[in-house]
Symmetry: C2
Subunit: 230 residues, 2 copies
């Protein structure tokens, strides 16, 4: 069986867990706290980030983008009718643009600061950045999430899914990041009805169920986190 | 003809300029100062980063990774004998891992802080982060570059090129970032002989010549910048 080194609230790890569900791949999940810089984990990927997947063959897949491209190259034709990364080069550009939008930009502006402040800083030793949360950072991130929600609403107002008329990696990336932030109760769903409707569609997929069952010790999710009707 | 929106010292833009040379693609270069947040540029790519390429067909390619994948999908079979992103999925993992190493990790630890401090901050308005350089940041980045050089030396001690026995996107990514830092005079080449030899091989390629001819107004390159024997 494959192994996925992940953190339950790491949005990039959540994206890969959604891929596992969509592609029907079984994997053992191992929780990794990257800030501990565990030697055996750094041997797998010296960059030391989650997620890292190890295939049953021993092939190491370090990082979100690499896992997504590898799944497309090795699994897309056998396990789904629909390509989550579509075959046409121009359509791939749009899916990859939005993957990067959420994995890089949304991460930098929203999910990374919120999760670092509210979750990781509790567990980090002080010399690696641990300590009390910085409310200025939290407020800025909470403000940023609003325009991302409106951008999602704008896109699904023109198309059925974020990158076009088929669901793609772009939707899974956006939903993975939002689900981490939603666990913390920081998504103002009232801000954009179209974005909320789109999220309900994703949240209802079987691939989403394992994420909705997550519980971080000492940190209950927001009340609506696992609700399909919120 | 295609158009490339770039900045002369932006290492991601330099990577794409190397691709243009390797693939034999002509493009008009337009200098973009992303911190000015020019409206027409944001219409091309709302993420607002360089590089952005616009194909003669009008197809917009926003960002380094997307350009590299698109070139592989649309140009690799017609313009080169050798695939800069090799066809085998496992080999692609290693090339993409090292692309990410330089485009993300080296950028965060070395090229981004050095270029921001030494170049961009001169041109940025103060409210967007402009002002005098912060020597602590410069010192930290100069220290970080040493272990990246040793990592390059380690890799080319095992293989002919960074990701294997053929030159790949990984080499062009690493060389693009190092060339920006080298312009500023901040690469301690004496640190690793094998890394230096590898860089000489890349620097000697015709695709590298346009980079070596770059001159930023008011900022001469380091003495050895354009020398093949340094």
């Amino acid at each position: 069986m494959a192994t996925l080194y992940h953190h339950p609230l790491c949005p990039h790890s959540r994206f890969v867990r959604l891929l596992l569900g969509e592609f029907g791949v079984d994997a053992e999940l191992i929780e990794e706290r990257v800030f501990e810089r565990r030697y055996d984990f750094l041997l797998l990927d010296p960059a030391g980030r989650t997620p890292v997947m190890v295939e049953e063959s021993g092939q190491v897949l370090p990082g979100t983008g690499i896992i997504a491209e590898y799944f497309d190259e090795t699994r897309s034709r056998t396990t789904t009718n629909q390509r989550l990364l579509p075959p046409d080069p121009a359509a791939r550009v749009e899916v990859r643009r939005l993957m990067s939008w959420f994995h890089d930009k949304f991460f930098a502006e929203v999910s990374e600061p919120l999760i670092t402040e509210k979750v990781y800083k509790r567990f980090m030793p002080q010399e690696r950045g641990g300590g009390p949360l910085d409310m200025d950072v939290v407020r800025a991130a909470r403000n940023n999430v609003r325009y991302h929600l409106r951008y999602i609403g704008f896109l699904v107002g023109k198309r059925k899914w974020l990158a076009g008329n088929e669901m793609s990696y772009a939707d899974l990336a956006a939903a993975a990041h939002l689900s981490s932030v939603d666990y913390l109760g920081d998504v103002p769903w009232g801000e954009d009805e179209a974005a909320k409707d789109w999220y309900v569609r994703l949240k209802s997929r079987p691939s989403f169920r394992p994420l909705l069952a997550d519980r971080t010790p000492g940190m209950a999710p927001s009340e609506i986190y696992a609700e399909l009707d919120f």
